[in-house]
């Protein structure tokens, strides 16, 4: 079947990636991050980031409003839980569908402009969604208090099939409720599917077309291509990935709040993608894991931990050093992240992936081949 065929190299990448993702509970153990809630976050953020990368990495259109699709996905999934059933499949289906529709409308309008105007348009739409979700749409979104399950939810399909359980139900798959690591493995399988789809897109003529648009849109237009349908498709796919990530967030924890739609959340996925390596397959995943991991590890540090770390120094030096260092961990983790991000954009525009490649070429090996256009973020102007 050609539909599921991958080139030999892609197949190898996919196999390695699958092993890495599925073995997460084992190799994260020594790193101290092997609990389900965090690993779910790893996997879901990776989906969000690779989806964003399909748009920004391939076409060069920098969207600052992707969190809106994530939020829409979350709300739709929770509503599917409330109204229909606790099963994960319909929740994902509706979330992807609705966020895809949102992306279609927003993308259709925003893609009429490019460059910075596109960024501002997506930002404006996302802010509209956020502000509305926060104010007028509270009957749908429950505003500040977040949308959550209640005992009086209709859950039409579930109640028709079985008697109502006593407490609040949790998300399930074909009647089997998730517990322990099952939620993680469910998300991991979804990530693998999403990754496979991305690989197919990257290898397809469609992906080629998107790269061509990124490298020179004017030339594409002159050769007689109408680029709009291609960019719009990329935008919608990317929005659907975000919606999928939102649905998975809701599945692992049936709660949807407005903060998921705030524009700083859109900024975070930009950070992940750039940090990992924009335009590469694995880069965004690595960026997402990197940020989520260090956020978790660093936020756990407090001043006494830092003090203990610097205790080998004499007290006069250790105290000020520890005081300064403590500003960069714990609550101050965002500061470290911001600095790191600036450094990456200035010195290493290709992100961690480019760093790995450079180190690889230092040792005389041929590093991970990255097409030259993919390494640098170029605007579509």
């Amino acid at each position: 079947m050609t539909l599921f065929a991958l080139s030999r190299r892609d197949l190898a990448v996919f196999a390695v990636f699958a092993v890495v993702v599925l073995a997460m509970p084992f190799w994260l153990q020594p790193l101290g991050a092997a609990y389900p809630a965090l690993m779910q976050k790893f996997v879901i953020s990776a989906i969000f980031a690779i989806g964003f990368n399909i748009l920004f990495g391939l076409t060069g259109y920098l969207s600052f409003g992707h969190a809106a699709f994530l939020g829409v996905g979350s709300y739709t999934a929770v509503w599917s839980f409330k109204l229909l059933t606790m099963d994960a499949i319909p929740a994902i289906f509706f979330a992807v569908l609705v966020s895809g529709l949102f992306a279609l409308v927003i993308g259709y309008l925003s893609l009429r402009r490019s460059g910075i105007y596109f960024s501002i348009l997506t930002l404006a739409f996302a802010q509209m969604c956020y502000n509305l979700a926060y104010s007028v749409l509270t009957p749908i979104t429950n505003g500040e208090t977040s949308l959550q399950l209640t005992l009086s939810d209709p859950r039409l399909i579930d109640t028709a099939l079985a008697p109502r359980p006593a407490g609040l139900p949790s998300a399930s798959l074909f009647g089997h409720s998730f517990s322990g690591l099952e939620g993680f493995y469910f998300c991991a399988v979804v990530l693998l599917i999403a990754f496979f789809v991305t690989q197919k897109i990257f290898a397809s003529p469609f992906g080629m077309m998107l790269r061509a648009i990124k490298s020179n849109q004017t030339r594409m237009t002159y050769t007689g291509f109408n680029t709009r349908p291609y960019t719009l498709t990329a935008f919608v796919i990317s929005g659907m990935f975000a919606g999928l990530a939102g649905a998975l967030f809701a599945i692992t924890d049936p709660l949807a709040g407005t903060e998921r739609m705030q524009w700083t959340a859109s900024g975070e996925v930009v950070l992940m993608t750039i940090l990992g390596g924009v335009g590469t397959l694995i880069g965004p995943v690595i960026g997402a894991w990197f940020i989520e991991y260090f956020e978790n590890i660093f936020s756990a540090f407090n001043e006494s931990v830092v003090h203990a770390f610097f205790s080998f120094l004499p007290a006069e030096i250790a105290d000020p050093v520890a005081l300064v260092a403590s500003k960069f961990v714990g609550e101050g983790w965002q500061l470290t992240l911001g600095l790191l991000f600036v450094l990456v954009v200035v010195f290493l525009p290709g992100g961690i992936m480019e760093g790995v490649r450079r180190i690889g070429s230092l040792f005389g090996r041929r590093g991970t081949p990255v097409s030259p256009g993919a390494a640098r973020a170029q605007p579509a102007e």
């Binding site: 060069g60 920098l62 309008l109 009429r112 402009r113 490019s114 460059g115 910075i116 105007y117 960024s119 501002i120 348009l121 930002l123 404006a124 739409f125 802010q127 509209m128 502000n131 509305l132 926060y134 104010s135 007028v136 749409l137 524009w263 700083t264 900024g267 930009v270 950070l271 750039i274 500003k327 609550e331 101050g332 965002q334 500061l335 992240l337 911001g338 600095l339 991000f341 600036v342 954009v345 200035v346 525009p349 973020a377 170029q378 605007p379 102007e381």
Partner: protein
Amino acid sequence: MDAILAQLLNGLDKGGAYALIALGLTLVFGTLGVVNFAHGALFMLGAFCAVTLRQLITLETVVIDPEQLSAWGSPLEIRTPLAQTWFGDFGAVLVDYSVPLSIVLAIPTMLLIGIAMERGIIKHFYKRPHAEQILVTFGLAIVLQEVVKAIFGPNPISQPIPSAVRGAFDVGAMLGLAPGALTYPMWRLIYFLFSLGIIGAVFAFLRFTTFGMVVRAGMADRETVGLLGINIDRRFTIMFGIAAVVAGLAGVMYTPLLPPNYHQGMDFLVLSFVVVVVGGMGSLPGAVAAGFLLGILQSFASMSEVKQIIPGIDQIIIYLIAVVILLVRPRGLMGRRGMMES
């Protein structure tokens, strides 16, 4: 009629803040061609100049007087601000007027920060695409706001209005309406006049000084000005510093209206970008006009009569206008033809 006038006035101070930030953004874009996502952070830094000054001049000495007893029966603690110990009554006045006084601190500070920012990072990004400029300045904005958070903590710190101008001003009486029919907080009026003053100063500076003339020439054709033997880069660096000062002053004077917190820069940034786009990328008068226009429209949209017709319009009106403008007339209200019209 009164209600409409009141809303018009309500929009003016917010519009003034938008106009000042958008003016700085446009200056930077027009001179250096850089899209500066850290400009909101400069507004926030200005606000924290006011906080710093106030914290400095309200440093207190505590003297415990065993003779007197406080209401709880413990020895009375007499707290005197250092400024008052040193300068007497004049010190008390200083404390009262800490917000307008911060302007004196903010101008050199913001100028230095602006120039350091431009020389340190932004100058390496002139030739890079807009997307990368957005990314690096976005990162810079995160760094700045987190530094402020590390120093001043995450909670908003409210700043008092000087007691002399704390009341409301009877605008109605001035316009021949009944006394008390239309009053307006004095500080908001001051903010509006202040923003007009700054805008006027910037325009006059560009219009009537040789420096301004060179800068305008450089905005029109950077290369030719450079070929004439003028060091245009240095002038543009100074313009970046001036844009930072404008944003900073807008922030200083806004502190009594909105207690500054570390993320207010980001909140204002999105809005002021929208303002720039509506006014026309690179057009200074456009930025000012759009700032006031959007401020006023926002305050009209938050009237309950309007909200009854279209619920939620007050939340999205600014973005809605921006979307319409970008789609219908991408060069903005007053933008030059062909400016970023792709």
